[in-house]
């Protein structure tokens, strides 16, 4: 795919009509033809000056997979002076090889300072393309208590967050769990949950054959090894296992630094106690290894060295009785957000896992 980025020469304050006119002009080619606009969704991004460049790069990558109108809102509500600055650009790709059709996705970048930063919905709303689903993405720290969120939420079908963007997973997951319980909240997607999808598929598949399915009931110990930035992901994984397998949390002990940190959790499963050891000392991967022990077998999914591959194994004692190595996939920001853009409705499995994860961390 060949692409080019086009920017409008002017900026500053513009009316909605001027923005629309200028965007149409950006689609005009040098030979007088007009590139197509293919749009499958609206994407609103709320970010700050520091992250703006990275976010814009991810949005332009996304434009290739999900042609959209992206509205990037860079805001600083702390400023006392009002400032509104508009930037327009289009990412035009040639589809269908040389001589193919130019297709453009658009980006409107709004720098808002002072009072307008508290009313982002008044800026984003008029710029949305009608009749298309609308996503709201917070690439950085997010709090449902932020001043603009309630009004923005009314504009959108789905909110995409990253529960690991905040340093404190307990606060982050707790707030998210509270948010999904509120009436009228749009569907919530979490990039940490997306990153767990291959892990969940591999774990489930370990128990896919009937001769091993019974071992699920016999699981008595789980070990999760995660690293810096992986706390949210690891707890969501345990939340998912617990809600899926009907384990009820009995006790959670936070281990001190001398004991290596992490959590030791006691669940009551359908047939007995299950201990979950959460070890935060992986030196590299955010999620390094998950092991489940049943009476006869042990099941493991681990990242394969520093590569993109993961290895899933089933052991009977020291004997390897099943193995597969697969691609774990890439976890680039654009890829994770792209995965979330595929879905519209509420993800009840995620919500149940989130509530359990938040409960674990609050103990």
């Amino acid at each position: 795919m060949i692409g080019e980025s086009r920017s409008a020469p002017r900026g500053g304050a513009m009316s909605v009509e001027e923005i629309e006119r200028e965007l149409a002009r950006l689609r005009a080619n040098e030979d007088g033809t007009l590139s197509l606009r293919a749009s499958v969704l609206n994407l609103i991004v709320v970010t700050d000056e520091g992250s703006a460049e990275d976010v814009t790069r991810s949005v332009s990558e996304l434009a290739g997979r999900y042609p959209s109108r992206a509205i990037v809102l860079i805001c600083d509500p702390g400023e006392s002076e009002t400032r509104l600055d508009i930037g327009l650009s289009a990412f035009c790709n040639i589809r269908g090889g040389t001589g193919g059709t130019q297709v453009c996705a658009e980006q409107v970048t709004v720098h808002a300072e002072g009072p307008p930063a508290h009313h982002l919905e008044s800026l984003a709303g008029p710029l949305l393309i009608p009749d298309l689903p609308t996503f709201l993405w917070y690439p950085g720290h997010f709090s449902p208590r932020s001043p603009e969120f309630a009004a923005m939420a009314t504009l959108v079908d789905r909110v995409i967050l990253d529960s690991a963007a905040s340093r404190d997973a307990e606060v982050s997951l707790g707030e998210l769990a509270g948010l999904i319980g509120e009436e009228g909240t749009p569907a919530v997607g979490d990039l940490q949950w997306v990153a767990l999808s291959p892990w969940r598929t591999l774990l489930a598949e370990l128990f896919g054959s009937p001769e091993r399915a019974g071992a699920l009931d016999e699981v008595y110990r789980v070990e999760v090894l995660y690293g810096p930035g992986g706390e949210s992901r690891a707890h969501l994984l345990v939340g998912w296992l617990a809600t899926t397998l009907g384990w009820r949390l009995r006790a959670a002990t936070r281990l001190g630094a001398r004991a290596g940190g992490g959590h030791r959790l006691h669940f009551l499963g359908p047939v007995g106690e299950v201990i979950v050891a959460m070890d935060p000392n992986s030196p590299d991967a955010k999620l390094r290894r998950v092991r489940l022990y049943s009476e006869e077998l042990s099941f493991q999914v681990s990242r394969h060295r520093e590569l993109r591959e993961a290895r899933a194994t089933v052991m009977r004692g020291e004997d390897l009785i099943g193995e597969r190595t697969v691609h774990l996939g890439t976890f680039d920001l654009g890829v994770l957000v792209g995965e979330e853009l595929r879905y519209r409705g509420r993800d009840e499995v995620y919500e149940a896992a989130l509530i359990t994860a938040a409960r674990i961390l609050s103990r």
Binding site: R95, T101, G208, P270, R311, R324, H327, V349
Partner: protein, 515 residues
């Protein structure tokens, strides 16, 4: 959650319910007959490798290649690895291959001999033990079509037409499904002697293409087209499956097949069915295939004595394609210098049902045409009356809706619009939507899609026996008439076919579109 609920919902159960995560097929062994052939290394194993790499195959999965060539398991694996590295440059992982290839095995044997099947059966039993493949078997017939009936018979005699211990047995057959109606019927009868129709998967990779499936999506997920998709509004339909390539190294095969058997009987008939069929009640195997069969049944038989009024064939001579001078068909490798095999076919077909009565479907396919293109053009009736002057509407043509399958999947609609300026001049404008551009998801390879459906037990995109026979029935009179002819019209490579094809439409006051 209660104890009972917890037991009922295991991790795999939950995943099956989760629309966001993919379905993983049951454990199985796929046995490929004719495994030393090109298809295995070029299409089947790369597709299975991609599925494995993408976490779409179960851990307990095995491939057993079978053919006469003497080879060890490791030699077979090495051969496949080389092909994969060649076709998957940049997407090949040593670690994934190591894991995947441990499930690849090879048996050399003559597929005509019963002892081969005794050995195969024993080997599959061992795999069930070692790799827990649970008695599920897929037999993929990638061997010469002349061996299909024998292989099926031997499988049946060896009791391998049923899975072991409650597992399944499925049989996959590559096109061509026979050479004519009689041989197709015979083949179907031979197979059905040992396998139930529900176990048989006739594969036409064309149906695995996303773009072909999109014809159904366009028709049945958009309410605006259906009301006008009939003889009241449609003047005629043109279906084009054009290739710019010649026969290349497939001369020997093509001499036997020709365009009618190679493309029209399967690919083109499938596109005709998808274009003309009634809405199925559900997107499942029986509902979809039932509607396709109804189209084939409704196709008016071509009268024996009037074949030349309905069908045209042609053969490419030398010419220029995309700036390159190319040989004629008779100069191609392994082609007879006096060959009368057709490389071009044009047909006029009527679908005699309520929806399409009196509306001709013009179909054409050919090699060495100016460009590669597959499209369905629905030409609507002209307006019954125009209030504008004749001079003002000179540039106006009837509406045409073109569904482009490849390249640049999309639709275009030709509509009349006013030319800016004083007076009232109306001209046709193409409204072009390349809807493939809206989704840049990498479409899975057709074989990947079909192999996965096969393992999941979904035959919707496979051909049913009566479909294959129905397509042959339509072409039977044409094949009979052409088999006795010594002359064949030619067309220069790089043109849109012989003059006779233009005449076919000209007689009806119409002309072919330029795709």
């Amino acid at each position: 959650m209660t104890q009972t609920q917890a037991k009922a919902r295991t991790l795999p159960d939950v995943l099956k319910d989760e629309a966001r995560l993919p379905s993983i097929p049951e454990p199985a062994v796929i046995v490929i007959f004719g495994a030393s052939g090109d298809l295995t290394a070029r299409k089947l194993v790369p597709a299975l490798y991609d599925l494995a790499q993408g976490r779409r195959l179960p851990m307990q999965f095995a491939i057993v290649g079978l053919s006469r060539t003497e080879m060890s398991h490791d030699e077979f694996r090495e051969r496949l690895r080389e092909a994969l590295e060649k076709h998957r440059s940049g997407r090949f992982s040593d670690d994934v291959w190591e894991s995947f290839s441990r499930g690849i095995f090879y048996l050399s044997g003559d597929s005509k001999k019963p002892e081969t099947y005794r050995e195969l059966k024993g080997f599959l039993g061992e795999l069930d033990e070692e790799r827990k493949t649970r008695g599920n078997r897929i037999f993929y017939l990638s061997a010469s079509p002349s061996l299909f009936s024998t292989i099926v018979e031997r499988l049946g005699e060896a009791g391998m037409n049923e899975g072991e211990e409650g597992g399944y047995a499925r049989l996959v057959i590559e096109k061509p499904f026979g050479r004519d109606l009689a041989s197709a019927k015979e083949l179907n009868a031979d197979i059905q002697r040992y396998f139930e129709e529900g176990q048989i998967y006739r594969i036409d990779h064309y149906l695995g293409k996303e773009t072909v499936q999109n014809i159904l999506a366009l028709r049945f997920s958009n309410g605006i087209f259906e009301p006008v998709w009939n003889q009241h509004y449609v003047d005629h339909v043109q279906i084009t499956v054009a290739e710019d390539l010649g026969v290349g190294t497939r001369g020997a095969f093509y001499e036997e097949a020709g365009a009618l058997r190679d493309i029209v009987q399967n690919h083109v008939m499938q596109v005709l069915c998808l274009t003309a069929m009634e809405p199925p009640v559900a997107f499942d195997a029986e509902s979809v295939r039932e509607e396709k069969v109804k189209v084939l049944k409704a196709a008016r038989p071509i009268p024996e004595g009037e074949v030349d009024q309905y069908a045209v064939r042609g053969q490419y001579a030398s010419g220029w394609v995309w700036g390159e001078e190319v040989d004629g068909y008779r100069e191609e490798e392994k082609v007879a210098p006096d060959s009368t095999t057709e490389t071009y076919v044009a047909l006029k077909v009527f679908v005699d049902n309520w929806r399409w009565a009196g509306t001709p479907f013009y179909i054409r396919t050919g090699k060495r045409l100016p460009k590669k293109a597959t499209e369905i053009a629905i030409q609507f009736h002209p307006t019954p009356h125009t209030p504008f002057t004749r001079e003002g509407t000179e540039g106006l043509e009837p509406n045409v809706l073109v569904v482009r399958v490849q390249p640049e999947e999309g639709i275009s609609l030709k509509i009349g619009a006013k030319v800016p300026g004083s007076g009232f001049q109306v001209s046709s404008v193409n409204m072009d939507l390349v809807y493939g551009t809206a989704f840049l998801e990498e479409a899975p390879d057709a074989y990947q899609r079909l192999l996965l459906d096969l393992m999941l037990g979904d035959p919707t995109l496979f051909i049913r026996a009566d479909e294959a026979e129905g397509a042959w029935r339509i072409l039977e009179p044409v094949m009979r008439a052409w088999s006795g002819e010594r002359e064949i019209p030619s067309y220069p490579a790089g043109t849109w076919g012989p003059e006779e094809a233009d005449e076919l439409l000209r007689r009806d006051g119409r002309r072919w579109r330029r795709p």
